[in-house]
């Protein structure tokens, strides 16, 4: 479905991805995990064509995303749903209008048909009763579910979740995990979940890529990953404070710096 080859992307002097390659299987949930600040969101934006890589290619549905014309790219995006971390709901519209928005923009459906579609999508995320609320009246978990319903509004073939679990209470978290899983099965979607919440993600993912410092560190099914011998992978999966990823941000010798500070004053 999606194949990324030799992708390199940098922001300023910092290399965010250094020659990485990964494949995303159709109709499966693929998780991309890694510590904060490894550019997981950037990867989703690269797939969606919002950013352009320095080199390498991203092929979605046999189309190279960054060689498409603007209108072709927009056509491709209609087949991609994306769930932003903040939900990215349009704050001046009600929940109902938020979900109806992409349908109104892209189709010629009558208002009655749009109503049916919107209510179906809202029902799928369990928020049919919240259709008249404004985004500011929703809790974080509800906003994410509404955003999910909106991402599904155009019946995409694939859906990308950007940190769906961050900052959720345990109940909302359970709901989201369940939703991602059932939606993927019932709608035959291809899902990409970007996250650093190990337990939740590993529980629903079919395949996991671990990314750190611009490289793919490990990949495999959740069981394969758990049983890797790599120290780094073990540190990440079990959440140890120290290990191959050091507790300290790179710095000069501590004693030396204290001394240097003294002489400066």
């Amino acid at each position: 479905m999606i194949s990324i080859r030799n992708l390199t992307f940098s922001r300023g002097d910092r290399k965010i991805f250094d020659n990485i390659s990964l494949d995303i299987m159709p109709h499966k949930i693929t998780a991309i995990m890694g510590p904060s600040g490894t550019g997981k969101t950037t990867l989703l934006k690269l797939i969606g064509g919002q950013l352009t890589p320095d080199s390498g290619s991203i092929v979605v549905n046999q189309q190279n995303v960054h060689q498409l014309s603007r209108s072709e790219l927009y056509k491709l995006r209609k087949k991609m749903g994306m769930l932003f971390q903040s939900g990215a709901l349009l704050t001046d519209m009600s929940v109902y209008d938020n979900i109806a928005f992409p349908i109104r923009e892209h189709t010629q459906l009558t208002e009655a048909m749009i109503r049916t579609v919107v209510l179906m999508k809202l029902n799928a995320v369990g928020l049919r009763g919240a259709r008249d609320l404004m985004p500011s009246e929703l809790s974080g978990g509800m906003a994410r579910r509404v955003a999910m319903a909106r991402a599904l509004a155009l019946d995409p073939e694939m859906i990308m979740y950007d940190e769906p679990f961050t900052g959720q209470d345990p109940i909302s978290l359970g709901v989201l995990v369940q939703l991602i899983k059932t939606l993927n099965h019932t709608l035959h979607l291809t899902s990409i979940v970007v996250s650093h919440d190990v337990q939740e993600t590993a529980s629903i993912a079919d395949y996991i890529y671990l990314i750190s410092a611009g490289k793919v560190i490990g990949h495999g099914t959740p069981d394969e990953i758990r049983n890797t011998e790599s120290d780094w992978v073990q540190q990440f999966m079990q959440g140890k404070a120290d290990g191959p990823v050091p507790f300290h941000y790179p710095a000069n010798d501590f004693g030396h710096e204290l001394f240097a500070n003294d002489t400066q004053q």
Partner: protein, 259 residues
């Protein structure tokens, strides 16, 4: 050496920003066609940009006119020329104060709101979200706001001048008993439709373009954090005020400077 390097850095930054702003403007223009099919978007923005600024402009215009009326009578009476009050009030409003003050008020009221709105939409990923829904935010969000501002400000400037002239009448004629007939007739002989009114309208059209362009670009280009947005909002008000006054000087020199 460091000094020159600093100047170099600043000018390169400024040029780059100007270039981005230029491209931004071009892409707004290329979205014009879309708006023809979606007049509803434009009307909604004229409401939030123009209609909501209506009372501010109308009342400020009235008071500016009243002040001009009072000051005019006091100054002109030393020459015994109170009957020229109408000329003084109308000429200063129609040529200068109408376009300039309404543009400054517009930058403070509507311009800063535009920057903050667009900046927040960027920070909350609403713009990115639209892009991923295959809806171009330049067409859907930016272009309607640009044209709404572009249409509203010249109308508001006319409103400002008109209510200012009525305010001058209120202060000069009703309060200080300058002759009403003299007020209007002197005004009508001295104010030329082409030279004064049309030039004033041209000025306000150019200010409208400047203010909405700056406001939208600052919002779109803002660093999407709360500090970034507040800085962008400040920049909108400061930069558009500067631009208004600078262009006012240039346009005045061009329109009224030559004998």
């Amino acid at each position: 050496m460091k000094f020159f390097q600093l100047i170099g850095q600043i000018s390169i930054k400024a040029l780059a920003k100007l270039g981005r702003a230029g491209l931004f403007f071009m892409s707004i223009l290329s979205s014009t066609g879309y708006l023809l099919f979606r007049p509803g978007l434009l009307i909604r923005q004229i409401y939030s940009i123009g209609v909501l600024t209506f009372w501010l402009i109308a009342i400020s215009g009235l008071f500016v006119g009243m002040v001009l009326g009072l000051q005019g009578v006091y100054t002109l009476s030393t020459f015994g020329a109170e009957s020229s009050l109408g000329i003084m009030v109308a000429a200063s409003l129609v040529r200068e104060l109408g376009p300039v003050v309404s543009a400054l008020l517009f930058a403070g009221r509507a311009g800063s709101a535009l920057t903050a709105e667009i900046g927040l939409m960027k920070a909350t990923e609403q713009l990115s979200g639209m892009e991923m829904m295959a809806i171009d935010p330049l067409k859907y969000i930016i272009a309607p706001r640009f044209f709404a501002g572009f249409i509203s400000l010249p109308l508001l400037a006319a409103l400002f001048s008109a209510s200012g002239i009525l305010g001058g009448h209120l202060a000069g004629v009703d309060l200080l008993h300058v002759d009403s007939g003299a007020y209007w007739s002197q005004m009508q002989t001295a104010i030329d439709f082409n030279d004064d009114i049309i030039n004033g309208v041209i000025k306000s059209i150019i200010f409208a373009w400047l203010v909405t362009w700056i406001a939208l670009f600052e919002g779109y280009d803002a660093i999407p954090t709360s500090a970034g947005i507040s800085r962008a909002t400040t920049r909108t008000v400061v930069n558009s005020s500067f631009a208004i006054l600078l262009f006012d000087f240039l346009l005045t020199a061009l329109m009224f400077g030559a004998p």
